[in-house]
Amino acid sequence: MKYPGFDTISLHGGQRPDPVTGARAAPIYQTTSFVFRETDQASSMFDMARSGHVYSRISNPTVGVLEERIAGLEGGTGAVAAASGMAAIHLAVCTLMDGGSHIVSSHALYGGTHNLFSYTLPRFGIETTFVDPRDPDAFKRAIRPETRLVYAETIGNPRCEVLDIETVAGIAHDAQVPLMLDSTLTTPYLLKPFEHGADIVIHSLTKFIGGHGVAIGGIVVDSGRFDWDNSGKFKTLTEPYPGILDIDFAEDFGPDAFLHRARREGLRDFGAALSPANAFYILQGVETLALRMDKHVANTRKIVECLDNNEAVEYVTYPELPAHGDHELAKKLLPRGCGSVFSFELAGGRAAGRKFIESLKVFSHLANVGDAKSLVIHPASTTHSRMDDDALKQAGISEGLVRLSVGLEDPDDLVDDLKRALYRSQI
């Protein structure tokens, strides 16, 4: 006997054929609310004394299928979906900490996350110290008594720094705080952060998991391994909560404490719930995640090879290249491949970059990654434009840096498109 495998969970996880209609696909439960069978059930569900759905801001059966499925793929005890990846990060952070808390974070972050940590959270009293993800000791040095979280991305955006998860997790755990990782670019198919010691995983479902660029969504997954009681640093989880009859989440829900607080407080009060229609669209993507990721990686390898040998390219930052600083770590952590989002430095700086992007015909110039279609962007002027010069330098984003998200088209067509645009960028 063995546990259901990755592909089986991708197709069946979290769902049973609809008991009333027999529908095989997960139905879209497009409803705000759910009828109580009796008044006793109604009051009990508000008291967290009975299971079931009350209101779609807090839970919904279609969204629930997606949550269970992603939790199953990651090996987590559960998940809470949110309206976007950023909503998921906000939900997770605010479930764990109050004003006066502190985050130690990698500086190699998606620009939106960097903005949240740098400018928005400090207005609510939560400060962040940014460190080099390639220097685990920097995480250790930055930890303070009020630190409540260590945060990073599994692969940095856009320069593909690979995090030494096991080492950084050990540093976080020594300080009695969890390691939260944004694993959007790797997906559970390429990397399962919980197997390496991470405690909480975030995904922008908009990207590879949804995979088709049609729905925005995010999710928080919990490993259920972090001992909130033993840490003693998380009163939101270990002290009575007057918002729900003085419930003590760790006492009542053990490994699921964080998830229940995130849902019952975070979704209830912040309201950034995922819509059932978007959950449905994203579920269609989950069903083919393994197939798509293999093709994304295969296409990316061909394109990396092409770029690495082109005179118009100064360097390519992809961890499978021996020259990449995290090559050995990537071989260990990411044997199936390092995803399909990476960057390269174009000779000729910003002007060449503009010519290059405007010459592409198959790649689409837009602010997204992880689509089935190939995408391109110039980070310094778009996704990371709100970072100041120092932050850009820290993140390794130069004027000539171009980010690609390689899609599922015929690889020869992608290579031809890039070669043509590279040529035009230099004339």
Partner: protein, 264 residues
């Protein structure tokens, strides 16, 4: 609720409500390697619906101190000490899996202290296969894996869980992992070696309800036949498409079966 019993700290969740003299009491008893959190929905419900509701951590499990007791009989004696320490005249005992054996044996040892029995995922005898016992003895994660795979109906392994967003397979796995270090083996061995079940069943005349999972492969319903025959007029409820981990697999079905047993 925490207090000292037999020189050890005892923890019992009470649904965040104080115990009130005069109210009927229900005590929930967890299974092997588990703790009070498996009863949270039910405990919170009964605490707000006219009961003193108590989900206890047996010695050495969850938040209770000490080490696991080595037999079902010892656990039952400890449970009766617990009831006396709370100055309860009588309590309904609701036990799951190993907890059902503890409840049955406690009723046999002190029938007057027990108002009724509800036995979930119960069978007598409750033998444990050698590979599982061996893995548990060596604190091998294979013991957790075997329990997870045999305790959940296949549909439950894939999901469709009524508690939104929770993956019960992984959630129950984490709970068992917390009790893997020596606790699980002690509990499984106690179940395996308990040979007084049928004597106890013949000796009690409390109202008894059995709630069994149709697809339970740890304690399959046919394995409860001798127990049912030994009990006098036991009521039996079989939950369709449900395995041994019925508290998380089908909490609403369990809730309704429990309610029927209490409202007889």
């Amino acid at each position: 609720m925490e207090f000292e019993l037999n020189n050890q700290i005892v923890f019992a969740a009470t649904g965040r409500e104080d115990l009130v003299p005069g109210l009927p009491t229900v005590i929930f008893i967890h299974g092997a390697g588990l703790d009070h959190t498996v009863w949270t929905l039910f405990n919170r419900y009964y605490a707000r619906n006219g009961y003193n509701s108590i989900a206890v951590d047996l010695p050495g499990r969850g938040r209770s101190g000490g080490v696991p007791l080595s037999s079902i009989e010892e656990n039952a004696r400890w449970l009766l000490d617990f009831i006396r320490a709370l100055k309860l005249e009588q309590a309904a005992l609701v036990g799951h899996s190993m907890g059902s054996l503890v409840a049955l044996e406690a009723a046999y040892q002190a029938q007057a202290a027990v108002e009724r029995l509800v036995l979930l995922g119960a069978a007598v005898p409750m033998p444990v296969a050698d590979p599982l016992l061996h893995a548990a003895r060596t604190n091998d994660h294979g013991a957790v894996d075997m329990i997870m795979l045999y305790s959940h109906a296949y549909a439950s392994q894939l999901g469709g869980n009524p508690v939104a967003g929770i993956n019960i397979l992984n959630s129950n796995m984490r709970l068992l992992e917390r009790g893997l270090e020596n606790v699980l083996y002690a509990d499984l061995k106690a179940c395996h070696e308990y040979d007084n079940g049928l004597v106890a069943a013949r000796g009690v005349d409390n109202p008894v309800t059995l709630i069994l999972g149709e697809e339970d492969r740890m304690t399959p319903p046919p394995q409860a036949t001798d127990l049912i025959n030994a009990l006098d007029n036991a009521k039996v409820e079989i939950l369709p498409e449900c395995g041994h981990m019925m508290l998380s697999e089908q909490p609403e079905a369990v809730h309704r079966a429990l309610a029927r047993s209490f409202h007889e």
